[in-house]
Symmetry: C2
């Protein structure tokens, strides 16, 4: 089985949730657009027919093409044991992943509240209003819930005694939020010891450590989903 991952080569974005799971598991993959540039991704997208992806990221597994981060991770989880096999844990981990996906969508809307195709600079007033609501209400609501999810397990990870794709996704969303909202996240940090625990455990996984220190890890920037604009952050 050879994997080709298709995603924008300049950003972490949604593709990063897939990259992290693959890297943590030591699964080989070709991050196509890192070689070809965005043009290679766009021409691949344009050439696909039938069951084509709605948007990147998508994974081509010897011709089986899967888009949507949560669906890709479901597949990788099933195939490579990156998810628990018992029924209750299996749907629980997917539920955590889908809730993280909802959080990521809201993060994106903070800087693009009214026009997804326009620049942030064209919707700064609306973004400021949305960011205020996000920092005050939505962010703590999501983090409270994720903290509860991490507390629900007596073990170290979200489930039992080993990491799953939801752990790597939780790591990434914490990373992104710390980059985007450093002041707000510093204020909130004491409320979330279990999230800090899981974040630290993921960061210490050998595959993740190697990845984060490699040039394969693209730095956060203001082209991606998590964007640091100082005016959108506050304590």
């Amino acid at each position: 089985m050879s994997y080709r991952l298709f995603y924008w080569p300049q950003i972490q974005g949604r593709g990063e949730f897939v990259r992290l799971a693959l890297e943590a598991a030591g699964i080989d993959y070709d991050d196509v657009a890192r070689r070809t540039g965005a043009e290679g991704l766009m021409s691949d997208m344009a050439a696909r027919r039938g069951r084509a992806p709605f948007a990147p990221p998508y994974l081509d597994a010897d011709g089986l093409v899967i888009a949507q981060v949560a669906d890709i991770l479901l597949y990788l989880g099933d195939r490579h044991g990156l998810a628990p096999s018992n029924i209750a844990d299996r749907y629980w981990i997917h539920q955590v992943q889908l809730t993280i996906a909802d959080l990521v969508a809201e993060v994106h809307d903070v800087h693009h509240p009214v026009d997804l195709s326009a620049y942030y600079e064209e919707q700064k007033d609306e973004a400021a209003r949305r960011a205020g609501v996000f920092r005050a209400a939505r962010l703590p609501k999501f983090l409270d819930w994720l903290e509860g999810a991490a507390e629900a397990n007596a073990g170290e990870w979200l489930i039992d005694h080993r990491w799953t794709y939801a752990d790597t996704s939780l790591f990434q969303v914490i990373e992104g939020l710390r980059y985007m909202f450093p002041r707000r996240m510093a204020t909130l940090a004491p409320r979330y010891p279990a999230l800090a625990r899981v974040h630290g455990l993921v960061a210490a996984l050998p595959g993740v450590r190697a990845y984060l220190s490699s040039e394969r890890r693209i730095p956060f920037n203001t082209q991606g989903i998590f964007r640091h604009y100082a005016e959108l952050d506050a304590e």
Copy 2:
């Protein structure tokens, strides 16, 4: 196995995607808050510990509690054969469901672009701008993709020769969009014959027909996700 569905009793909302799959399959369920009122839902939410839902809808299957529409449908699909069993079709149908979920989230943001906790009337200007972008760009982009998904199968449904949970979800999203944007959807209709085909097939399923004509089907209204505000619609 007995199912208890927890969702707001006054709206179709996200719960409707679960209700429709259950009704189409003839699976018995207790729509709890239709009996108890919203108070019953809220007190149930507040009492849950450990692996608690982030938000309704959630399904309690003899103590196994699953939230997130796509996760609930994945579970029902696995358990009741409402999804294909072969690998490629299985992840494809889930991918369609997740893309419909993204569309539903964008529909919600049309009337709540900057503050999820405030009334539509407090963000009408922002909503008007977002609605314009949605009608012109995002809606056709999603519908083009869904049309392609419906065309990708030579059979009648999204997959092969029988309905899956993605078909009932596709039906619901078309229903909702026709209610919310009657003028825009009328203009776009000729471009989407395959979507009309699947919509019609789902509407004719005996379980769905019976449900739609029952009082279990709550009419669309301006409390739900799909809301008709004439000022947000246009040809």
